[in-house]
């Protein structure tokens, strides 16, 4: 007997028991939505806290900083940093945020020298408006696309936050998710508008020539300014996030249990639905065996059914989670550092695979029940 025939019979069992199937699929979808959401948070957290081989950017903050507002570094550090061996380039940045605590709606202004923006972030892509429009106007802002969507901003609009009023010159997209949640403004403008004063910046972003020299370069920078009026603390940005967002990380780590709970709920739901179906179809299984269907084939119909229920529920749940995060564009902020909750295809695929495996596992016992009952007594 061909596997596709068994698959066809399993599909008919699903499509012709519509209410039962719809309820089971809805349950699986809910569980997998929760699982995919938790995994999205985990993967987003990993993306902003775990260093990769491609990471070659250091951030220089004032020592003992708590929030961007407490990190005040003199802008004249820049030429000295650039002279250090292993430094490819450095950009002074002023950061102003509306909320230093953990928040889902953080507004972050990044003040950068207009002429350095594309050096600082060469992968930036303007999706609306223009860079020229931004360079030509001192109060102009290039707004990250997630930020723009959250606030419904378009080129030509003006908006005010943290006491800073800016004109939207364009909307930008960056491969770094956290860059899509900020507004780039002119450094001198932000220094004055946020009243920190000219010549003072929050941080320097330093790109090193070789990723393997990150630690050595960071040590040299901190040694250089150790005896200065503003001692520094230099680390990869991801390391700062991992340090400042410890509570957040712990909380997100806890959500693993929610994910596990969702997985167990899906397993129980599918197993229960199939077991009830198997018990209701004892006679049907016996009829099939009377017609000459091997016991394995009768069991496999149930296994296929479980896999299909998992597949359909998994598709709805994981794609639903992707769509949800894509549309809502959540950004978690803490101490001025942002983490975008970005939907990821690998999360969806792993969720889908997990749902199918759960469906398969859940169907094993019902398949045994359906295929091992004695034919003669089942037909009575």
């Amino acid at each position: 007997m061909k596997a596709r025939h068994l698959l066809g019979l399993a599909l008919k069992q699903i499509t012709r028991h519509r209410v039962r199937s719809a309820l089971t699929i809805a349950g699986v979808a809910t569980g997998m939505f929760l699982y995919a959401s938790v995994q999205t948070m985990q993967s987003s957290l990993a993306a902003v806290t775990q260093l990769g081989a491609e990471d070659n950017t250091l951030v220089v903050y004032r020592e003992n900083r708590f929030c961007p507002s407490t990190s005040r570094l003199p802008e004249y550090y820049l030429p000295e940093i650039l002279r250090i061996d292993g430094v490819a380039e450095a950009v002074p940045i002023q950061v102003t945020v509306n909320n230093c605590g953990a928040s889902l709606d953080v507004i972050t202004f990044r003040g950068v020298p207009p002429e350095n923006l594309l050096e600082y972030n060469p992968d930036i892509e303007v999706t609306a408006g223009s860079v020229e429009g931004w360079i030509g106007r001192s109060d102009a802002a290039l707004v990250g696309e997630n930020f723009a969507l959250r606030r419904s901003l378009r080129p030509g609009d003006t908006f005010e936050a943290v006491g800073v009023r800016v004109y939207v010159a364009g909307v930008v997209r960056s491969p770094l998710a956290q860059d899509n949640n900020v507004a780039y403004v002119h450094l001198p403008f932000l220094q004055q508008a946020s009243r920190v004063g000219l010549g003072v910046v929050t941080q320097f972003n330093v790109r090193v020539t070789d990723a393997s020299q990150m630690e050595a370069v960071a040590d040299r920078i901190d040694e250089l300014f150790a005896a200065d009026s503003a001692p520094t603390n230099t680390r990869p940005e991801k390391a700062f996030f991992a340090q400042t967002a410890r509570d957040l990380i712990e909380m997100i780590g806890f959500t693993r249990w929610l994910g596990l709970g969702a997985v167990l709920a899906v397993l129980g739901l599918v197993a229960n639905a199939l077991l009830l179906a198997a018990r209701g179809r004892i006679k049907e299984g016996a009829i099939l065996q009377t017609l000459g269907f091997p016991r394995l084939a009768v069991g496999l119909i149930m296994v296929w059914e479980g896999a299909l229920l998992g597949l359909f529920g998994g598709l709805v749940g994981t794609l639903g989670a992707m769509a949800f995060f894509h549309l809502k564009r959540f950004t978690l902020g803490n101490e001025g550092l942002t983490m975008a909750l970005t939907p990821d295809w690998s999360v969806s695929l792993s969720g889908l695979l997990l749902a199918v495996i759960l469906g398969l596992i859940a169907s094993v016992w019902p398949a045994i029940v359906a295929s091992t009952k004695p034919v003669v007594s089942s037909l009575r």
């Binding site: 028991h17 009829i287 000459g292 269907f293 091997p294 037909l379």
Partner: protein, 268 residues
């Protein structure tokens, strides 16, 4: 294999379901064929219900000829259905030999019996036992799915032919719930014959039907036996149904009690 030509001829001559048509064939069939298709030798069946040993069949000997239509009668618990299940290969005798054609079913293991059933036996149940979510067409198609060598086209032709034979071509898309009892039983018969097995077993096929539907079903079984050479073993409580068979056996307490041979089966 189905004989398309024979079917066409049947359609050309007259309606298959008229009494005259059935009688034409009845008169030409030898009732006791020399070749025994089913041979039971000392067949017993014993099972255990708690600490009690139950023996519904005991040392039974029986020959049924190829193409014979046999009715099994007897009171409840006499072993009729047990014998039927043994002949159909859904149960195995505890002792004895049970030959169907050249195959001793008593020597087959469960998996081998399943495979044997798929090719050699069609089972017709009292309560039809159609798969409720499948249409008449899909129900009839079920046994053919086991044959990997059949193309979809060949499968479709066989299903259509079987449904045609039972007079339900126009109801192939209907689900069991959309059919009458008689129509459901016709679909069940089409499902039983679609693989062209040599043996058909029927467990009270008319027990749940009104007289008119029962008559139509019995006529169909007579036709399958007489025209298509199917060996049919039917369990029934109904003397009228039994009269449609060529021979009637009475079972009592697991043993043959009486045999009645009808040289000319009655018109039902």
């Amino acid at each position: 294999m189905w004989k398309q030509r024979a079917i066409n001829e049947t359609f050309a001559k007259a309606s298959r379901y008229t009494k005259n048509f059935i009688m034409t064939f009845k008169t030409t069939i030898p009732l006791n064929t020399t070749e025994a298709y089913i041979r039971c030798r000392g067949v017993s069946k014993t099972y255990y219900k708690g600490k009690t040993t139950v023996t519904p069949l005991e040392a039974l000997d029986l020959d049924v000829g190829r193409g014979e239509f046999l009715a099994l009668m007897g009171p409840s618990g006499s072993g009729k259905t047990t014998l039927l299940n043994l002949i159909a290969g859904i149960d195995s005798p505890s002792t004895g030999e049970l030959w169907i054609g050249e195959q001793n079913l008593a020597s087959l293991k469960r998996g081998q019996l399943t495979s044997w059933r798929a090719h050699n036996c069609g089972y017709i149940f009292q309560l039809y036992h159609l798969v409720p979510i499948l249409s008449a067409y899909e129900n009839v198609e079920l046994p053919l799915l086991l044959d990997k060598s059949l193309s979809p086209k060949a499968r479709r032709e066989k299903v259509e032919m079987a449904l045609d034979l039972v007079g339900l071509s126009d109801r192939s898309d209907h689900r069991p719930t959309e059919l009458s009892g008689g129509q459901e039983q016709r679909v069940a018969i089409a499902r039983a014959i679609v693989t062209d097995p040599g043996l058909l077993v029927a467990d009270e096929p008319t027990g749940d039907l009104d007289r008119a539907s029962a008559t139509a079903i019995l006529e169909l079984l007579q036709e399958l036996s007489s025209k298509y050479d199917k060996t049919i073993v039917m369990v029934t409580h109904d003397a009228v149904a039994a009269a449609a068979a060529m021979r009637t056996l009475h079972l009592e307490k697991g043993q043959l009690a009486e045999q009645a041979t009808t040289l000319k089966p009655q018109t039902v």
